[in-house]
Structure formats: structure tokens, C-alpha cells
């Protein structure tokens, strides 16, 4: 491997044996593989060189062989397949949503749009680089969907149609509406504040009643849309909570907004009393702002964990009286026999009736080594067939399938997590009830004992002054800022409770594969038993034999591929054993064979045989993450107790643990063992964080107090985790702990301040000693202090 040359397209280092270039802007640029070269050539041929000029991230590596299924896009032209996700209006225009893998920055979106533009019959192509999705409409008489997909794949992206699920569509609609409400409140607040300033200054100098009333009317016109439209979510939430017999923060918020607005309108109309239009607008604006960011963060996290149902392919090859027909996967019935070719994704759960092959189940289990399966064995939808074609008899479809079951379990688990004690929630409930009771008491006391005509105004000033906005803003603003910080650090938060849990974590449990290690094999050592060969030629031989294989072992040798000197013929795949073939007249076999010393290896070991003589053995190991060492050290400095709980039975777990300095190692655990391990720790009153990936970790991930998945982990793991580390940097977790402890501290400060302010102002307001404008200023000031205190979190950004 040479460090000096980097692929111009994907940024990875170019293997020494590869000499490929593409002419970009009149200059030959190095390419690391045929895939990258083809893609960059296609981009240049289409006249889209701006992509390279403006992109901010390198492209994705193209060398991974595209499964056959993705190359034959014709399946997507089938009507049965299309009816699921293509929408057509009365004319011949059809619309589809595509989810596109490989988009790294805005330039990619531009590239795809412009690649598609010249197509005849294309109506609209809109690519969203944040959600990695595209909306495309075309004229079905002039263009086929498969052509569009082909064009996208030519420039190196993998596009697949998907159905926008109802929940997502709803979330998108509501987030748009939220933005409208927020924007409107913002515009109005600016205007109303301007007039409020005029009115307040008029307090100290003297303002003609004529102008005062005019300003009030204008303020009312501006504040009306805010109170009537923007604040609607609070009203609905308040009504909902009242109907369910509880009181939440939105109840006093709604009463304050509604009450203050109505009273101000009344005052404006009659020309008496006080107006609170600016308070109403600003209060609504700030609250909406907090909630908008909260919602946005949640939505982003759910989009980035991708559509799980995408795991199952849309089409399947049905075997019908010795005839192969392509059908929509949805149409399969139990007892149908389908053909699964190598590289294809299994379309339905079933039992193998013919053939033997290896199946990559990493999307379900997180284990990267394929499992060999033969007749009578169960295969699952969503797993990839690695080696040989097999025939599968379907035994579960639709929601009965394992993947669907898992998705359901995940959703159930994420909705039913043990509620992390949200102090604020409880606090606000008592607070709201208290404010309402006290206002009522104030009203009654003033009405019957002091002066009935002042009763309404005093009650209102109680509501305004004690308006729980500082309290309501205390947590959301801090959480919003912390979420923003997390995003900056490359961490996605999926639950707001993590900020409370993180600083309390005492014990961190790692699942080895994919978290501490990369989950990909690399060559560890080569043992040579025949002195006539060199290490390099052994690796070249193996690489040549393994070149056509998609097995993870084969990938470890890709860098040593030198086809010119090692042409292979008569390649034969022995499922679960290895590969054999002829190189320069000799018969070679690579794979599992008897070890030289007859001992069982603790690591992955494969042997190379020439004419049945053992000539070399290669040990492979899972590479430890670059930053694992330093992160572990940092975690130890934080006085965290670390352990590894792995399902792996080999000695590799111990090897990884000892090289990282983790003493507590448990290998060969079943998922339920892992869960009971975590439960044991928790019963000793320790908060446990769990790093994991894959389905096998699902129970333990939901059982732990906090679960973390790596960005490269399986979609299912990401969907069940509380935190996702993008960019796979373990060290980010340490930063996350720091940010979270700062966040909890700020929330506490905010709450203390808000409560303290309210406790002081309440008796004053109840006794009628607070002038209305002082009440409004105090309320605004207390919220501003809370907001700016929370903003301190962002200041420390590196």
C-alpha cells in the first residue's frame, strides 16, 4: 500500500499495483479502482466537472461489486412492483421517491440532478442532500424508471424506490407547519416590540391617548395571528392533557397567552387598562423556537437511521414449473419456491430446498462472517446470499418475517423504555397546578374582599408575572443547545433523556465486533511452510483465487491483487470450505484446511495448498479501531469501569481486550447472557452504557440505561440506540459525557433561577404590587436569562 497517491474520486489510497487515471480538467488524476474510474469518467463525459470543483466531501468508493440485482433495474418497470411506490396523476406523468445511497455533500445532489436533466421525458428531479432522497417525476411514454435508475448508478450512487411511510409524511407536514408558525411569530414579534417600546416610553414621558390607542390597535393586528395561529400547538396540547385528566405546562401557557391576548384586546377596545401584546408574541416565539429545534433534531435522527424496510428487496425470482419469472416480492405466497442468486438479497423468510451457500446476516446479527447454510435450513429476508444459487421455499411473508418482527420489537422497545425521571416534567405539572390554584384564589380574594373591579387585572398580572415561560424554556433551550453541540461532534441523539443519563454512567460495556474493532478482517501474519515461496507471492496467489468472492476474507486480500502475473483458471467455490483453481499450471486451494501443528487456532486462519501440499497459513484478525486505544484511556480517566461482552467465542476477544487494557472480558455470551450481565451490574445500582450493533444486541441495548451504536453499524442497531456516533469516532463518547454533564448543570441553574424568580414575584403579584409593565419586563427578562445561560453551551464549541 502506498501512502503517496490518493484516489481523486473517493480519497482512499491507491494500491501500488493499480495504475488507473481519469482526465479531469485536462489533468490525469489517479483512481484507486475500475469502479471509481468508470464513475469519474461518466461524470466528465456528461460535462459535469463542476462536481469536482465544488464538492466538500470525497465520493464513495466504488470497488464493491454491485450485486446483480441492482444492475438489472428492469425489475422496477414491472407494474406490480411499481404500483407500490409510483404515483401517477391523470396524465402520463409518474412520480417516485428514491432513497439514494452515497450522497456525501450538496455537490452530489447537484450532480445527480444534472445527470438526469438531459433525459427525454423527465419532468422534475429534486435531490435532497440532507435526507439522501430524491423526488423524480417523468413521462411514462418517453422514459422508463429503470433508465433513470441506470443513469444514477452510472455516476456511482445506488438508488432504490421507497414508500414514504405515513408517519414520516406526517412528520414532514407538521415540521413545515411549525416553521410557518415560527416565522410568523418572529415577524410579528419584531413589529409588536417596536410599538411596545413606543408605548413604554410613553409611560415615562407622556403620550397622547390618541397615539397610544393607535399603537395599541396596530399591535393588536400584529399580535392576533400569533395568538390565533402560531400558538395553536399549545392550545391543542393543553386541551389534550386536560381531556386526559392531567395538567401539563401547556395549560398555564395557553391560559396566559389566551388570557393576556383577550384582556389586551378588551383593553384596546375600551381604551383602558394595560396591553400585553409584546409579551404574548415574544413568549410564543421563544417557546416555538425551542420546540422547533427539538422536533428538527428528532426528525433528522429518524431519517438518518434510514428506512428499515429497504432491507428487503422489491423483486424475487419465482420458480414456476421450471420457469423463472420475476415477480414483486409482495406477491410471494407461503410455499412458493424462489431462486436466490449469488449477491442477491433474500426476498422472504424460507427454508433452503436446493443448494448450499453462505449467507451474510450482518444486517441482522452484526457478525461480519457469513454462515454456511444448506438444505432444510432457515434463511431470513434481508440477508445476502454470498456464494452459490439456492432455491428457497418461502415459509413466512410480510409482517410474519423475522425482519418485520425485529422492527416491531425495536419500535415497541423504544416506546416502552423505562421513563428516565424527567424532573422538569413532574415539576411543571405541580407548578402549573399551583399557579392555576393561586390565580383562582387571587381572583376570588380580590373579587370578594378587596376590590372587584381590580380582580381581573391582578389575576392577569399573576398569570403574566409567574408565567412559566422561564421554567418552560429551562430544559428545551439547554437540550437544544446540547443537541446542536452533539451534532457538531458527530453524535446523533435520539432521546432527549440522554443528557441526564450520560453523566451518571458508571460502567461501559462494549460489544467487540464493529465497536472496538472495525468488523473487517485484515492480514495479521503469514506463516510459510514451503521455503520456495515468498510472503508476497503467497498473498498474490490468495488474492487471485479470491478475486471473484464477496466473502469478507476475500476483501482482506484485495490490495494484493495482481492479475497479470497470476491468471486463474477453473475456479471452483467449495461452499463453507474455500476456493480452488489453477494458477500457472498448478492446482491451488485456499480455505479451511488442517493446520500444520494440528492445533485449533484462536484466530481466523486460512491455509494455501498447492497440489494438496500445505505451503502457507495466513492469520487474519479484526482490526482494532484507530482511536480505540486513546478513547479507552480517556474513559478510564473519567473513572468509568469498562468491560467487554462479546458473542465471539474465539480467543480474539481476549487478544483485543489485553491490547486495549480492558480487564473484564466475557466471551461467548448469548444475547440473554449479555442482558443478565447488564442486569447484574444495574442491580448493584450502577448506570450502564452499552455499545453494540446488530440484532443480537437488541435486548441488551434496550436493557441498558444508555445504548450507543456506531454510524457504520446496522440500520436496526441504529434504530434502537439512544446515541449514534457518526464517523465512528469512539473518542466522541468522552466529549459527549463532558457536554452532557455541562448540560445537566445548566438545566439545574435554569430551573433554580426560574423557580426562584417565580417564588419572589408571586406574592408581590398576588398582593397587587406589581405594575403590569414590570410584570411583563420581569417575565421577559427571566426567560432571556434562561436562554442566554443555555447558549453558553455553544460558546465552548471548538
Amino acid at each position: 500500500m502506498s501512502q503517496d497517491k490518493q484516489c481523486y474520486h473517493c480519497g482512499e489510497s491507491v494500491p501500488a499495483s493499480v495504475d488507473l487515471t481519469t482526465e479531469i480538467n485536462n489533468q490525469p488524476q489517479p483512481m484507486c479502482c475500475i469502479g471509481c474510474q468508470a464513475v469519474s469518467q461518466a461524470i466528465m463525459d456528461a460535462g459535469l466537472k463542476n462536481y469536482y470543483k465544488f464538492r466538500t466531501e470525497p465520493g464513495t468508493k466504488q470497488s464493491e461489486l454491485v450485486p446483480d440485482e441492482l444492475n438489472s433495474f428492469s425489475a422496477y418497470d414491472l407494474d406490480e412492483v411499481q404500483q407500490e411506490f409510483v404515483h401517477s396523476d391523470d396524465t402520463d406523468i409518474q412520480t417516485v421517491s428514491l432513497s439514494i445511497d452515497g450522497i456525501t455533500c450538496a455537490a452530489c445532489a447537484w450532480l445527480i440532478e444534472h445527470k438526469l436533466k438531459p433525459l427525454r421525458g423527465l419532468q422534475k428531479a429534486m435531490v435532497n442532500s440532507t435526507t439522501q432522497r430524491a423526488l423524480i417525476s417523468w413521462d411514462k411514454n418517453q422514459l422508463k424508471l429503470s433508465d433513470i435508475l441506470q443513469q444514477i448508478s452510472a455516476i456511482g450512487y445506488v438508488a432504490a424506490p421507497y414508500q414514504v411511510d405515513e408517519q414520516e409524511a406526517k412528520a414532514k407536514r407538521s415540521s413545515k407547519q411549525f416553521l410557518l408558525r415560527l416565522g410568523l411569530a418572529g415577524f410579528s414579534t419584531m413589529q409588536v416590540m417596536m410599538f411596545a417600546l413606543a408605548l413604554y416610553t410613553g409611560y415615562f414621558t407622556d403620550l397622547d391617548t390618541e397615539f397610544r390607542d393607535y399603537f395599541r390597535w396596530v399591535s393588536m393586528i400584529f399580535a392576533a395571528p400569533v395568538a390565533l395561529y402560531s400558538a395553536q400547538p399549545f392550545y391543542f396540547s393543553a386541551v389534550r392533557s386536560l381531556l386526559s385528566g392531567r395538567i401539563n405546562m401547556d395549560v398555564p401557557v395557553s391560559i396566559a397567552i389566551g388570557g393576556a391576548f383577550i384582556a389586551s384586546c378588551f383593553a384596546t377596545y375600551h381604551g383602558v387598562g394595560e396591553v400585553y401584546f409584546e409579551s404574548v408574541s415574544m413568549f410564543t416565539f421563544f417557546l416555538l423556537l425551542g420546540r422547533y429545534f427539538e422536533q428538527k433534531a428528532k426528525q433528522k435522527a429518524s431519517v438518518s437511521s434510514s428506512n428499515l424496510h429497504k432491507l428487503i428487496p422489491l423483486t424475487a425470482t419465482l420458480i414456476n414449473d421450471k420457469e423463472h419469472i420475476e415477480v414483486a416480492a409482495k406477491q410471494l405466497k407461503v410455499d412458493d419456491v424462489i431462486l436466490v442468486k449469488p449477491g442477491e438479497v433474500v426476498a422472504a423468510d424460507g427454508i433452503i430446498v436446493e443448494g448450499v451457500s453462505s449467507f451474510n446476516e450482518s444486517m441482522l446479527t452484526g457478525e461480519h462472517l457469513p454462515l454456511t447454510k444448506g438444505c432444510e435450513q432457515q434463511v431470513f429476508a434481508g440477508t445476502i446470499n454470498v456464494e452459490q444459487p439456492v432455491q428457497v421455499k418461502v415459509n413466512a411473508i410480510g409482517s410474519e418475517q423475522f425482519v418485520s418482527e425485529i422492527i416491531r420489537l425495536q419500535e415497541f422497545a423504544s416506546n416502552n423504555r423505562p421513563a428516565i425521571a424527567l424532573i422538569v416534567d413532574k415539576l411543571s405539572r405541580y407548578f402549573s397546578a399551583a399557579v392555576l390554584t393561586l390565580s383562582l384564589i387571587t381572583y376570588l380574594v380580590w373579587h370578594f374582599f378587596i376590590s372587584p373591579e381590580d380582580a381581573f387585572w391582578v389575576t392577569l398580572s399573576v398569570l403574566v408575572a409567574t408565567c412559566p415561560c422561564a421554567l418552560a424554556l429551562a430544559t428545551p433551550t439547554a437540550v437544544t443547545c446540547a443537541t446542536a453541540m452533539f451534532t457538531k461532534l458527530g453524535i446523533i441523539t435520539r432521546k432527549s433523556g440522554v443528557f441526564e443519563t450520560l453523566p451518571k454512567i458508571k460502567h461501559v460495556v462494549f460489544d467487540k465486533t464493529g465497536t472496538l474493532t472495525y468488523g473487517r478482517l485484515q492480514i495479521h501474519s503469514v506463516m510459510i511452510h514451503d521455503n520456495s515461496v515468498s510472503k508476497e507471492s503467497v498473498l498474490n496467489h490468495i488474492a487471485a483465487l479470491e478475486q471473484g468472492s464477496e466473502h469478507p476474507i476475500a476483501k482482506a486480500f484485495r490490495d494484493h491483487l495482481e492479475l497479470k502475473r497470476f491468471p486463474v483458471t477453473d475456479v471452483e467455490h467449495h461452499v463453507g470450505k474455500g476456493i480452488s483453481g489453477f494458477i500457472n499450471g498448478n492446482h491451488y486451494f485456499v480455505g479451511k484446511a488442517v493446520s500444520a501443528n494440528g492445533k485449533a487456532s484462536t484466530q481466523q486462519m486460512i491455509s494455501l495448498l498447492r497440489d494438496d501440499d500445505l505451503i502457507a497459513e495466513v492469520t487474519l484478525s479484526d482490526e482494532i479501531r484507530e482511536d480505540a486505544q486513546s478513547s479507552i484511556k480517556q474513559l478510564k480517566q473519567h473513572k468509568l469501569y469498562l468491560s467487554i461482552a462479546s458473542g465471539d467465542q474465539s480467543g480474539h476477544v481476549h487478544a483485543v481486550a489485553s491490547s486495549l487494557g480492558i480487564n473484564d472480558v466475557r466471551a461467548g455470551l448469548t444475547p440473554s447472557d449479555k442482558l443478565s450481565f447488564v442486569k447484574d451490574l444495574q442491580s448493584a445500582n450502577e448506570k450502564v452504557a452499552m455499545f453494540g450493533d446488530g440484532i443480537n444486541d437488541a435486548p441488551v441495548l434496550s436493557g441498558a440505561d444508555l445504548s450507543i451504536a456506531m454510524g457504520s453499524g446496522t440500520a436496526i442497531a441504529k434504530n434502537s440506540a439512544d446515541l449514534i456516533l457518526l464517523g465512528d469516532k469512539l473518542s466522541r463518547f468522552v466529549d459527549a459525557i463532558d457536554v452532557a454533564s455541562k448540560t445537566t448543570r445548566l438545566i439545574k441553574q435554569n430551573l433554580m433561577w426560574a423557580l426562584g424568580y417565580n417564588l419572589i414575584v408571586l406574592p408581590l403579584a398576588m398582593s397587587g404590587n406589581i405594575a403590569p409593565y414590570v410584570a411583563a419586563i420581569g417575565m421577559s427578562a427571566s426567560s432571556l436569562i434562561v436562554v442566554s445561560n443555555s447558549l453558553r453551551l455553544l460558546k465552548d464549541a471548538k
Partner: protein, 62 residues
């Protein structure tokens, strides 16, 4: 002072226009992908000078 009876309604009209523009922008999904919209100006500009041949096809679309 009575000029404000004229000026304020004019200001209100401007605000109404601003709100209308904002609503249009939100509805036409301009806030969906802020990365993309932020850099799109770079691409479009450059394209007109380098790829005039394709301009006839692209000028009627987004």
C-alpha cells in the same frame, strides 16, 4: 405626527409582503435542505458560462 397614520399602514403592507414571501419559501420546500440551497448558487453560475450547449434544455426547469 399625523404622518404616522400613513407610514405605519405602509410598513404593515411591507411586513405582510415579507410574511407572504416567507410562506411561499417554506411551501416550496426551500428550507428542507439548507446545505444544498446554500451552495446551489455556485453551480448555476458556473454552468451558464461553461455549458451553454445544455442551456436550451435546462432553462425551462429548476
Amino acid at each position: 405626527m399625523s404622518i404616522i397614520y400613513v407610514l405605519i399602514p405602509i410598513a404593515m403592507i411591507f411586513v405582510a409582503i415579507a410574511v407572504a414571501v416567507f410562506f411561499w419559501a417554506v411551501k416550496s420546500e426551500q428550507f428542507d435542505d439548507l446545505d444544498r440551497q446554500g451552495s446551489s448558487i455556485l453551480f448555476e453560475d458556473d454552468e451558464s458560462e461553461s455549458a451553454n450547449t445544455k442551456a436550451d434544455k435546462s432553462n425551462d426547469r429548476l
